[in-house]
Symmetry: C2
Subunit: 486 residues, 2 copies
């Protein structure tokens, strides 16, 4: 290394230090090793103690069991190759396409021109209007297409919003812990401060307003210029689904302290217990009750096609809606998104279909409903099976599944594990996750990748993989692991 330092322009000591600092465990060393195992299995390697890798480290439904929704993909096949629209009888009579598929494809093509053309920077106007109508239906309050920005998944929207806010190394953003590491990684890259606030595991990982206030107060006392608060609802990695009162309390706090609310609501349809409460709706209700007090609350709410029953991660689609932002700031957001030209247009079309799926009475409705409900039921079933298994496991505590695609159990590990992990230079939960992968082929993410309270250990697993055989592999491993280190 010391020699390459002199030989090349770039070396590890002179590249952007903020990228070097950033951590992104979801696709880190453990994930890389799991891909190596997968490649070995694909090549016929029989030396591994498992015959399949289960990527439970990442919410990637279609890599596992989930089938795409027929209506969406039929429409996409037509927007990709519009000459098919000239063969309506073949589509209808021989390929099983329904008239509303054809109609939607025609409408989308009218809106975007060609899916191979750049759209307007913030997205195709017709698609933004459709999203606005969805938000109106969902929340019961008006929404305006001009406030909507299409993005390449929610990640790109988060990146845009954090970029705008990160004015200096002193800029802080309140981030829930545990959290999806996109937030900490992006803040690290931007050289801004992550101000962690802990979620309350004892209350099903809900927001704890006192913890938020304390984290905020401490950051401000240390001179941090706190600009925003991130809320992930339903939670990632926790799966927690916030009550209306919790949402209200966070808005109240943001209004008081003049913080931007960044509501990551990509799991809004993955709710098994209770009901999703959008920040937008509750903000509008609060504004209706006291306009003067709340009129300038800045809210950015994000959504994605990667999650929910859509699960179209590879298409990279999403949007964010801005409420209450200063028009001059909005101009800067527009300029920033225009530098990357536009979100993938096929992804934009999928966003449109996600928010405006076939309605009751339309020809594609029945199949759509059946597929959608089937995916939902499958997720719930597997979540429950996994939860039941965790309940049986020694030293494992897990909340009842509430939402999102994850469970985030606590693991209480014997002292010998702590020692063994230290020897390998890993945290105990990482040590556990590596051993789990090596023994079973199941790849999860250690809790330390998301942040956790000191002296607590967790891991995050999706419940997307088909069947329950792999759950059995985990239970068996856990038993042996505990016996080994007891």
């Amino acid at each position: 290394m010391s020699s390459t330092t002199r030989l090349r322009s770039l070396n590890i000591n002179n590249v952007n230090p903020h990228i070097v600092e950033a951590k992104y465990a979801v696709r880190g060393e453990l994930a890389v090793r799991s891909e190596e195992y997968r490649a070995r299995l694909d090549k016929g390697d029989k030396s591994l103690p498992f015959d399949q890798v289960i990527s439970a480290n990442i919410g990637n439904p279609q890599q596992l069991d989930q089938k795409p929704i027929t209506f969406f993909r039929q429409v996409l096949s037509l927007v990709e190759y519009p000459p098919l629209l000239e063969k309506e009888d073949v589509l209808l009579n021989q390929l099983g396409y329904k008239p509303d598929v054809i109609e939607r494809a025609r409408w989308l093509l009218e809106t975007v021109g060609s899916v191979g053309a750049y759209s307007a920077s913030a997205g195709a106007p017709g698609i933004k209007e459709s999203i606005a109508k969805f938000i109106e239906r969902r929340d019961g309050f008006p929404a305006d297409a001009k406030d909507i920005y299409l993005s390449a998944g929610a990640s790109s929207g988060v990146n845009t919003l954090l970029h705008i806010m990160a004015a200096s190394p002193n800029t802080g953003v309140l981030v829930p812990i545990p959290q999806y590491p996109l937030y900490t990684a992006s803040l690290a890259v931007l050289d801004a401060k992550c101000v962690p606030y802990y979620l309350d595991e004892s209350k099903g990982w809900g927001t704890d307003l006192e913890a938020i206030k304390a984290a905020y107060k401490q950051a401000v006392s240390e001179g941090t210029d706190v600009r925003a608060i991130v809320i992930i609802n339903p939670g990632n990695p926790t799966g927690a689904s916030l009550s209306a009162d919790d949402v209200k309390a966070v808005i109240e706090f943001a209004a008081q302290e003049k913080l931007v609310l960044m509501a990551d609501e990509v799991y809004q349809t993955n709710v098994f217990k209770g009901k999703f409460h959008s920040f937008k709706r509750i903000l509008r209700e609060m504004q209706k009750a006291d306009s003067e007090k709340y009129k300038n609350v800045e809210l950015a709410s994000l959504h994605s096609i990667s999650k929910g029953m859509v699960g179209e991660c590879g298409h990279r689609g999403g949007y964010f809606e801005l409420c209450g932002f200063d028009p001059e700031v909005v101009e800067q957001i527009y300029k920033f998104v225009s530098i990357s030209l536009c979100a993938p247009v096929v992804g934009q079309c999928l966003v449109e279909m996600m928010v405006n799926p076939p309605q009751e009475g339309s020809p594609s409705y029945e199949l759509y409903k059946q597929e959608y409900d089937g995916i939902f039921a499958g997720l719930q079933k597997r979540a429950t099976a996994l939860y039941e298994a965790f309940k049986q496991m020694e030293g494992v505590e897990c909340d009842e599944p509430q939402g999102s695609m994850y469970l985030f159990p606590t693991i209480n590990l014997p002292p010998k594990v702590i020692e063994a992990a230290k020897k390998e230079g890993r945290s105990p939960d990482e040590f556990y996750a590596f051993r789990l992968l090596d023994a079973t082929g199941v790849c999860v993410v250690a809790g330390s990748g998301f942040g956790q309270k000191e002296n607590t250990l967790h891991f995050r697993t999706t419940f997307l993989a088909p069947g329950t055989e792999w759950v059995g592999r985990i239970t068996k491993f856990h038993k042996e692991f505990m016996n080994e280190f007891r």
Copy 2:
């Protein structure tokens, strides 16, 4: 504004100042106005002096005349809706699909699983291997899939590479002037220094090694830590296509000063005059001749599906290949790209088809060739028509079209224009471009958006719009404009 400052978290004075500084004229005020005109025309507004907006400001072929290539889109229709593959006879006999379309779709699906699933962070392995084979065929030297990173268009690749290099406000990158403003905008956002070097208009906008050396020397003497040199070949906005000697000279210089070569080669198939010389090939030739001297040259070469005869901008696909980078730096690049998960998978499939199109003798070849050649001939024809028109225009000087999708004529404007522009607070070329848009509906980009030598004025126009009627609109406007301000 003073009041909002106190009301909200974010205002123009406290957001990221580097975004506020960044300029991106390609989608700036002029483009916004052109979209307003388009919307007015769409709503039936008859008060404008034109009945169509021509977006010659952006290389967006499918927004204008260019039809997508049939093979590409047929394959995409199948990967979007794989159940069609079960109806082979319908595809072949009634929809005109050829067997190689079906074969390619099956292969791509095998490679990516589902286009709705995230791929590996740097792209689907099979697609990376296909790209490596293309590079080998193009250059006659081996290429390795592990050095290839799929990206959402070349813009996202540029963003990644500049992110890695931008270690401090003192980091500098040599950028050609005039240039595609992505470079200056990204460097501004990253708070790194753009070190401009002027291209030589008198030599068809070629690279001028003396100018590069002088710019480098001056930057170094001012304490700038120059890390890399960007070369856009064929040029944007200039259209210049570099000779092998020019490429060699730049590599020689980069080797000597230990600079990363960023070769933006997105227009590599848009060459009308001479021949495209890839930096990779010439680097490998130089390494063959003198391994010791050139073995550590760091080259990143970028390509895209948005340009060439593909023109699939909306699908956001591209790749970059790394040569000679330190493995520890490569790890950081990998981590950075993994934070945004993966490039759009349909875009990745298009990259694969771009680099591996139907070959002679395969069923889809004839149509592919006909479409490809037709697009090429159309671009060349329109480029020539535009060039001929510019030659006739008073005070306009333009080089013969060489490559890319643009012409970048010099305009010599009367002193009265300079005065009138000053009154409006615009540069004279912006003033000209606004007047052109207002009078004709043709949207170009003023030379100041790309950078130009002091006391010179230009504009960039694509030659993508169909027909030549709009060229006539420009000539007519120009005549009247010159008469008005003479």
